[in-house]
Amino acid sequence: MTTATAAVSLPRPRGGLAGALVRGVLHRWLPLAILVAGWEVATRISGSPFFPPPWEIVRRMKELWFTGPADHLFLNGEATGNILPSLGRMALGLLLSAIAGIVLGIALGRSEQVLAYLNPIMQFARVIPPPTLVPVFIVLFDLGTQMQVASIIFSAIWPILLNTADGARSVDQVQMATAETFRLSGADRIRFIIVPSALPKIFAGLRLALSLSLILMVFSELLPGTTDGLGFELTNAQSQSDMPTIWCVIVLLGVLGYLFNTILLAVERRVLTWHRAARKAAS
């Protein structure tokens, strides 16, 4: 949110909207373009097999994933066989941890006593580095999607759960008292007061959970025994010392991460418009 306010307070460049737009694009993307171009030149000169030039990576990405028919968005079998299962696992894991995290978080946030009881366990579960639990899940669920989704959930749920609980706990007392006088039912109270005031916190948790689930998705697929997914493609390429493919997967993951984050930010901005407006009015 700090970045949004910073962007607003920047001085507007003179020279009309078009000029500002061009300047903005230049300012934002030129350094990146220069960096990529420099990288291209440097890698071509050095000719190291470990660092293929960016153009090479893009070409390889195209022939690796995007040679399919137009009605499949140009995706070929390799892409649907590896990218889609990965995305499916991540979406399922994130969705389940969001549902469980928000529901449990609100329940815990509204009851001080239960929260006090469970807090030590939750704090402990939160600080266990998630990769250490992947071997545990392998033993419990065997290899495969079940284990991968379980490990995503176990790492992604904590930021959502703890943030939601924190948000639900700090609901304005006056509002709760008002709800009491108006005899709002429990469901209405949750819907109209608790959820809205916890939403900013919930979104902060979701953003953390998003990047964690991407990390865990890749990690759980990197382990021996997986048969598909982007992580599998990575290990497969590693065992054949196929550097271009490794770079392709890394770039694709970066693009996906960027996309997911942008989408979540856009949703957050829409959902939280009233929140910002209220804050501005108060200050």
Partner: protein
């Protein structure tokens, strides 16, 4: 906590779940305690902690000055933003196979990955912190004839310090994730991750896997507690100011 402990104990003892799948909690804890006296295991823990500390220290040394630069020079900030936004979402674990081929295994590969992953939260928190600096204080010093760098170091860095500390705390747990994670994947060598990974390959090794996990959790908890305490102690003035203002 005790109830949960007893429940898992009963579940394990009653043989509802296969004993080798989910051993009773008491045996896991006993094993974890036993490992405390095992010099081999302690050596593994020390290796992991060395990678963690080294990576975190380098990340701080890189990310704080960079954050100061980005945060105080707007032109650099807008220029670097596109690059940063493109690099940041790359999940660090996806770099493990690449680093494995480039750098082999062991500390030489672990530390760069930890540095990469741990630098981001420090960098961003430093930038946010600079955003939050009181402009009056900056202007005051400026009028007294202090140079830009002096103002940066005297006012901005000081008032951004609590934010940087939060970034370091986030980075510390990420660094631990990466340290253990790379070890689990690389499969040989030494470290806590290696201990867990090799135990999971042995039949009946679940007890060791879980004991190792308990250890990893304890490490995380200790690191987190120490950093939170240090933060509270060092920045009491900051929190006092905060609660006084609101």
């Amino acid at each position: 906590m005790a109830v949960l402990f007893l429940a898992s104990e009963a579940l394990g003892r009653a043989e509802i779940v296969d004993r080798s799948y989910l051993p009773p909690a008491s045996t896991v804890v006993a094993r974890a305690a036993e490992l405390f006296g095992d010099p081999d295991f302690l050596h593994n823990v020390r290796v992991t902690l060395t990678a963690w500390a080294l990576g975190l220290a380098i990340a701080i040394a890189i990310a704080v000055p960079l954050g100061l630069l980005f945060g105080s020079v707007p032109a650099v900030n807008t220029g670097a933003r596109a690059i940063v936004e493109f690099l940041r979402p790359i999940p660090s674990v996806a770099l493990i196979p690449l680093a494995g081929l480039l750098l082999g295994s062991g500390l030489g590969m672990e530390v760069p990955l930890i540095v990469y992953a741990a630098s981001w939260p420090i960098l961003f928190n430093t930038m946010y912190g600079l955003d939050d600096v009181d402009p009056t204080a900056k202007e005051t010093l400026r009028t007294f004839g202090f140079s830009r760098t002096q103002v940066l170091l005297r006012v901005s860095l000081r008032s951004a310090a609590p934010f940087i500390a939060t970034g370091v705390r986030l980075a510390a747990s990420i660094a631990l994730i990466l340290a253990v994670g790379t070890e689990i994947l690389s499969g040989f060598g030494e470290g806590l991750g290696i201990f867990i990974a090799s135990a999971s390959n042995v039949p009946d090794g679940t007890r060791d896997v879980l004991a190792g996990t308990v250890w990893a959790g304890c490490l995380g908890l200790i690191i987190d507690t120490v950093l939170v305490q240090a933060e509270n102690r060092m920045f009491r003035w900051h929190f006092a100011l905060r609660s006084g203002a609101s």
